[in-house]
């Protein structure tokens, strides 16, 4: 059987660490990088007699996510104990939510692939629930003992669970990226994947194309980069297909991805899977969220990517692809918005599209090369707007604009106007001056003129090139074209 006879089914569970100041059930700080155990209070280390008290900021962030995904925000949700013994969780259980999570349902629209081959897809969310993170176990250097750091114990997490709607690793990555952008957009998670603030578990199965039943899934745990997510799924898919085609069957299991080998390996099978024995936590009363609270949070929400994208299309005349790309991150969207605002969108109809081209094109490429985030761009939105304005009013050509952009990047001038002025880059629009150049070029290129007269269109283009060169790129190609044709009587 070939690879195309198989369909891949993927669902993702994302753990987003909430960017609060304090922990979910205690007043300990969650700042990253502190000395071991200095941010572990009596509640976090589970001394007898302590009680958890829920952090309001955590609930607010869950509401924000629910609103952004169009989910049902449960008026009443319940915390449950997930029981397992491990020293990084000294209570013997993790406080989580089980039967009644705070966020239920919802959807997110993702853009898969680039350019013409890209397509949109809507992924359904199952739920998002609040829970506490566990501490860290350090297995090396302690004379055969394990070292426990409980600073992370009690850090607030939202576990965001998707339906099994993804059909390729590319879709899974697009979903993870969209969710990553969204949690940062609504400012509930810093999205720092190296520090573990955004980690993915992927449930992967394969089935024969056309089959109604899902295949048996394996869960790949703790993927902390989009590249690993892609690699782990690709490996898992080919492994599962090969196993079935060799006459084997897939057993439900939890596996780990090894970035060094690019392979997954079994962590535990279903037989020794944990039985978490969930039950409602008697230490915590139900979480009640009033409609008034939801309304207040809604009124404080920023414009969401979906709404901004629709506005870019309707008001600025951008294509759906451009609008989606520009709203892929909050930083890029605000940079673009600031550029359009500075340029004054009303000044010329093509300005928003020009700004989009520059932000997604030259600026993105230059940032990429310099490995910089758009927020750290040496060229400010105001500077880029100044440049775009001069392209729009024909002061400079596109080719010259690239030179001006580079000069802005390296700080050779404070504004496009200053650079154009200082370096004499203003486009020559005076037809008398251009005609003078044309005469010189024609005199020096008699051969091309004769070839053109003999019907060779290529010769004409060569002449245009010569004139442009003579103008040092400052003439407008369209104007040169027109004047040259007139001169040659063509």
């Amino acid at each position: 059987m070939s690879r195309s006879d198989w369909e891949v089914v993927i669902g993702l569970e994302v753990h987003a660490q909430l960017n609060t100041t304090s922990k979910i059930f205690s007043g300990s700080s969650i700042a990253f990088g502190a000395e071991p155990n200095v941010q572990a209070s009596a509640v976090d280390i589970a001394l007898p007699g302590v009680l958890p008290v829920l952090n309001r900021g955590v609930v607010e962030r869950a509401i924000r996510l629910g609103l952004a995904l169009g989910s049902h925000i449960a008026p009443k949700s319940v915390f449950a104990r997930k029981n397992y013994f491990y020293p990084d969780l000294p209570k013997g259980y993790q406080i989580s939510q089980f039967e009644l999570p705070v966020v239920q349902g919802g959807t997110i629209t993702i853009l898969v692939g680039d350019g013409d081959k890209s397509y949109e897809k809507t992924v359904r969310l199952t739920r998002a629930h609040l829970e506490e993170d566990a501490g860290k176990s350090l297995h090396e250097d302690f004379h055969g003992m394990t070292g426990i750091d409980l600073n992370r114990a009690g850090t607030p997490l939202l576990e965001i669970v998707s339906e099994p709607d993804m059909r390729s690793s590319a879709e899974a990555v697009a979903y993870a990226r969209a969710l990553h952008a969204l949690v940062r957009w609504i400012d509930i998670c810093d999205g720092n994947m190296q520090e573990g603030s955004f980690r993915c578990d992927a449930n992967v199965s394969v089935r024969k194309r056309g089959a109604e039943q899902f295949g048996t899934r394996r869960e790949v745990k703790n993927l902390n980069s989009f590249r690993f997510l892609q690699q782990a799924i690709d490996y898992e898919v080919q492994w599962q297909i090969a196993t079935i085609e060799d006459g084997g069957s897939i057993q439900q299991a939890t596996v780990l991805f090894d970035p060094d080998t690019g392979e997954t390996r079994m962590m535990r099978s279903k037989e020794d899977a944990h039985d978490y024995r969930y039950f409602p936590d008697p230490d915590l009363l139900p979480l009640v969220i009033s409609p008034e609270w939801i309304a207040r949070v809604r009124s404080e929400m920023p414009e969401l990517p979906v709404a901004m994208k629709a506005r870019f299309i309707a008001e600025l005349g951008l294509s759906a692809y451009d609008a989606t790309t520009l709203t892929a991150s909050k930083e890029m969207a605000s940079y673009y918005q600031a550029t359009v605002d500075a340029a004054g969108a009303a000044s010329a109809a093509q300005v928003p599209k020009l700004c989009a081209n520059w932000v997604m094109g030259d600026l993105a490429a230059r940032l990429n090369k310099a490995e910089l985030d758009i927020a750290a761009s040496p060229v400010t939105p105001a500077q880029l707007a100044g440049l775009v304005t001069r392209i729009a009013d024909n002061t400079i050509s596109n080719a010259i604009a690239k030179k001006v952009f580079e000069a802005l990047w390296t700080g050779e001038g404070a504004s496009a106007d200053e650079i154009i002025d200082k370096q004499g880059l203003k486009q020559v629009t005076d037809s008398g001056a251009i005609e003078g150049l044309i005469d010189e070029v024609l005199a020096a290129n008699q051969k091309s003129v004769e070839e053109f007269r003999a019907g060779k269109e290529k010769a004409f283009n060569a002449l245009v090139g010569q004139v442009m060169k003579a103008s040092k790129g400052k003439a407008s190609p369209a104007q040169v074209n027109e004047l040259l044709r007139k001169k040659l009587g063509g």
Partner: protein, 95 residues
């Protein structure tokens, strides 16, 4: 419903309880008694009744998102059996 000795062993292992061969029958009988009680409760028709997670009709109290705890590591670790470099040391646990 009646449990097998194997199931009792598994539950004990999950709960990190050491139950000897001689205790297993007694434990199973006790657990069967609990399950009988649960079965009796499950026989009640609860259609249309909202599940109750807490006996009181109250909502959980919330605290503001501020840091109120200070570093008390030294006091906490004074009663720990073994510590090093600020870490609590426990018998090796690799899954």
């Amino acid at each position: 419903m009646s449990l097998s000795n194997e199931q009792v062993g598994r539950i004990a292992r999950l709960s990190r309880l050491a139950i000897s061969e001689t205790e297993i029958d007694v434990t199973r009988t006790k657990l069967d008694g609990i399950f009988a009680l649960i079965e009796q409760m499950q026989a009640v028709d609860t259609a249309g009744i909202e599940p109750m997670s807490h006996p009181q009709e109250l909502a959980t109290r919330l605290r503001d998102d501020v840091v109120t705890e200070t570093d008390r590591r030294a006091a906490f670790q004074a009663i720990a059996p073994q510590t090093e470099a600020g870490l609590y040391l426990v018998p090796k646990v690799i899954e």
